[in-house]
C-alpha cells in the first residue's frame, strides 16, 4: 500500500488472517458439515451483523469477483447495503444485485430463488452453528456427540414439535444431515430453502463470527432434512402467488401495507421478483 491512507489490506483482513481462515475453510470443505474452529477477528461491525460471513467473504474474494449481498432475500435492507458498501470500499470489487452475475453471494437467512451454478460461492452468516445447542448446553458434550454420531437428541426436538403442535413446527434453522454423516444447522434459512442445498452445484460456506466456527458444503453434496417416517419433511406452501410478479413456488414475505389489515405477499428474493417484472410478469397486487 502506498500514500498516506490508512494501510488497509485488500478486503480489510491482513494476509496472515486470510491464510488462517482459508485453512479453516479448506478443512471444512474436506469434512462436509463439520464445524471447524477459527480465530475470529474483531470486525468493524457488531456481532450478529454477519461478522462470520464477512470474514469468510474477505478471505475468498479476489479482485475479479462480483459480489452480491442479501439480507432475508433482499438486496436493499440495511445489512445487505452496508456489507456491500464495505466490500466495494475495502476490496474495490464489482458488486451486483443479480444472482446470475455474482460469483460470491453473502447471505443472511435465504438462498436465492434463481438456481445457483457451478463456480458460484454462497457465504452464509451464522448466529449459532451448533444444532444440538438448545438440547445440550455443554460444548464438550456436543463435540463428543458429533464425533460419535449420537444424533438421537435431534429427533427428541422434532418429537417435541410434533407432540406439542401436531406437526414438525420448526420452520427455520431446520437441521440437516450432510452426506450421511454430520448433523448441521443450515443457519436460520427457512426450511423452504433446505432442498436447494441438496446436490447444489455451488460451494456453500458458513461463517459464525461470535461462535468462531466455519463449516461448509462442497458442491454436489447430499443434504437430507431430518424427519420421522410417519411425519416426513415438508416445506412451507403458499396458497397465493407473489403480489408483484405473480410467481408461485417461491418464498413469500408478508408485508403490512396499511393499518386496516391490508397485506401484501411478495417474493422475499427481491432480485428474482424484479427480473420477473422486467420480463413482463405481474401479480394480482399491481
Amino acid at each position: 500500500m502506498t500514500g498516506s491512507l490508512p494501510a488497509y489490506n485488500f478486503a480489510y483482513l491482513d494476509e496472515e488472517t486470510k491464510r488462517m481462515i482459508r485453512r479453516a475453510i479448506l478443512k471444512a470443505v474436506a469434512i462436509p458439515g463439520y464445524q471447524v474452529p477459527f480465530a475470529s477477528r474483531e470486525m468493524p461491525m457488531p456481532y450478529g451483523w454477519g461478522t462470520g460471513g464477512v470474514q469468510v467473504t474477505a478471505s475468498i474474494i479476489g479482485p475479479d469477483d462480483v459480489l452480491k449481498v442479501i439480507d432475508q432475500g433482499s438486496d436493499d435492507t440495511t445489512n445487505a447495503v452496508s456489507i456491500r458498501a464495505f466490500f466495494a470500499n475495502v476490496a474495490n470489487v464489482a458488486v451486483t444485485t443479480k444472482t446470475a452475475e455474482a460469483t460470491v453471494i453473502q447471505t443472511r437467512h435465504r438462498i436465492p430463488e434463481t438456481p445457483l451454478r457451478e463456480g458460484q460461492t454462497l457465504v452464509y452468516q451464522v448466529p449459532i452453528p451448533e444444532p444440538l445447542r438448545f438440547l445440550e448446553p455443554r460444548e464438550t458434550e456436543t463435540r463428543i456427540m458429533h464425533a460419535l454420531e449420537e444424533y438421537g437428541l435431534m429427533h427428541v426436538k422434532l418429537y417435541e414439535d410434533i407432540a406439542k403442535n401436531g406437526h414438525i413446527a420448526t420452520t427455520y434453522a431446520y437441521p440437516v444431515k450432510v452426506e450421511g454423516r454430520y448433523v448441521m444447522d443450515p443457519s436460520p434459512i427457512p426450511k423452504f430453502d433446505n432442498p436447494k442445498m441438496d446436490d447444489c452445484p455451488a460451494l456453500q460456506l458458513f461463517g459464525a463470527g461470535r461462535e468462531q466456527r466455519i463449516y461448509a458444503i462442497p458442491p454436489h453434496t447430499r443434504i437430507e432434512s431430518l424427519d420421522f417416517e410417519d411425519h416426513p419433511f415438508r416445506v412451507q406452501e403458499f396458497d397465493r402467488p407473489c403480489g408483484l410478479c405473480g410467481a408461485t413456488g417461491v418464498y413469500l414475505d408478508e408485508i403490512v401495507t396499511d393499518d386496516r389489515g391490508g397485506r401484501l405477499y411478495a417474493c422475499s428474493d427481491t432480485d428474482y421478483c424484479e427480473e420477473r417484472r422486467m420480463a413482463g410478469h405481474s401479480g394480482p397486487a399491481l
Binding site: L135, I144, L148, E150, G152, L153, H155, V156, K157, Y159, E160, I162, A163, K164, D227, F228, E229, D230, H231
Partner: protein, 259 residues
C-alpha cells in the same frame, strides 16, 4: 446365555480422591437376574463404587468386566468411548437419587421415554409414542400427562418417569443410587412395589445403593456392607440382616427403628 456365568465381575475396585479414599479393593460377582444391595452410612463409598462400576468415574485401581449381549466378557476400561456410551444407553440403566439429574426437565415425559429409542435409530413417531404411552401406564403415571414436562410432576412421579426412561431399552443391568431417597414413606412403598414387579418381570440385574436397610431387604438378594470405603460384610440379604456378623453391621441393624 446361561445364568451360571456372572454378568459383571469387579476385582479390587479402588478409587482414591488424591490422598483420600473413595473405595478400596472391592471385589464381587453379579449374576443375571440378581439384585445386589450396597449399604452403609453416608461417606462409606457406596456412590463412588457405583459410579466407578458404571464407568462414570475413572478407577484408580482394579478392573470391572461385563458380559456383553454376545456372551463375551469385556474389560470395561478397554471399551472405546463409543462402545461405552452405547452400552450405557442400551444395555444399562442408571437411576439417580435426584430425578432431575436423570431426566431432561425441559422436554415432555413422552420425549424423555422416547429418547433411548431415538438414540438407537427408531424414526417412527407413532411407534415411539405408543411405547411411551405403554411405559407411562406401567409406571403408574396417567397417560394423559405424556406431553407435560417433568417439571410439573411430583417427586414420586419424576422418579417413576426416570425408571421408565431407563427401562424402555430393556437393559440387562440397572444401577440405582438411593432410588427412594427424598420420597415420603407411602410414595416409597409404592415405588418399591413397582420396582420389585418390574425387576421380576424383566429379569433385570441391579446394583442398588441405599442407606435404607428396609429398601435393601425388600429388593435385594445379596448385600454388601461398606464402611470407610471397604466391604466389611457380604452375604444373602436375609442372612446379613438376621444374623449380622461384623460389629458395624450389627450396629447398623440394631439402629433400625422398630415401630
Amino acid at each position: 446365555m446361561t445364568t451360571d456365568q456372572p454378568l459383571l465381575i469387579a476385582k479390587g475396585v479402588t478409587k482414591h480422591y488424591g490422598a483420600r479414599t473413595g473405595c478400596e479393593d472391592v471385589s464381587f460377582e453379579l449374576y443375571p437376574g440378581e439384585i445386589l444391595a450396597v449399604v452403609g452410612e453416608s461417606g462409606s463409598g457406596k456412590t463412588t463404587l457405583l459410579n466407578g462400576l458404571s464407568c462414570r468415574l475413572p478407577l484408580t485401581g482394579g478392573q470391572v468386566s461385563y458380559r456383553m449381549r454376545d456372551g463375551t466378557l469385556r474389560n470395561l476400561a478397554s471399551l472405546t468411548e463409543a462402545e461405552r456410551r452405547f452400552l450405557m444407553r442400551t444395555d444399562w440403566g442408571f437411576v439417580h437419587q435426584n430425578p432431575a439429574d436423570g431426566l431432561r426437565m425441559r422436554v415432555s415425559a413422552g420425549a424423555n421415554i422416547g429418547e433411548r429409542m431415538m438414540a438407537v435409530g427408531v424414526r417412527h413417531y407413532g411407534r415411539i409414542r405408543e411405547t411411551a404411552d405403554d411405559w407411562l401406564t406401567r409406571v403408574e403415571i396417567n397417560a394423559g400427562r405424556i406431553d407435560e414436562n417433568p417439571a410439573s410432576f411430583s417427586g414420586g412421579m419424576r422418579q417413576r418417569l426416570q425408571i421408565a426412561r431407563n427401562l424402555v431399552s430393556h437393559p440387562r443391568l440397572v444401577f440405582m443410587d438411593e432410588p427412594t431417597g427424598g420420597l415420603d414413606v407411602s410414595v416409597q412403598a409404592r415405588l418399591l412395589d413397582l420396582l420389585r414387579a418390574l425387576v421380576g418381570e424383566m429379569g433385570l440385574s441391579a446394583i442398588l445403593v441405599t442407606h435404607d436397610l428396609a429398601v435393601a431387604r425388600l429388593l435385594s438378594h445379596r448385600m454388601m456392607v461398606m464402611k470407610d470405603g471397604r466391604v466389611v460384610e457380604t452375604g444373602l440379604t436375609d442372612r446379613v440382616l438376621d444374623d449380622p456378623r461384623h460389629p458395624y453391621t450389627q450396629l447398623l441393624v440394631a439402629s433400625i427403628l422398630e415401630v
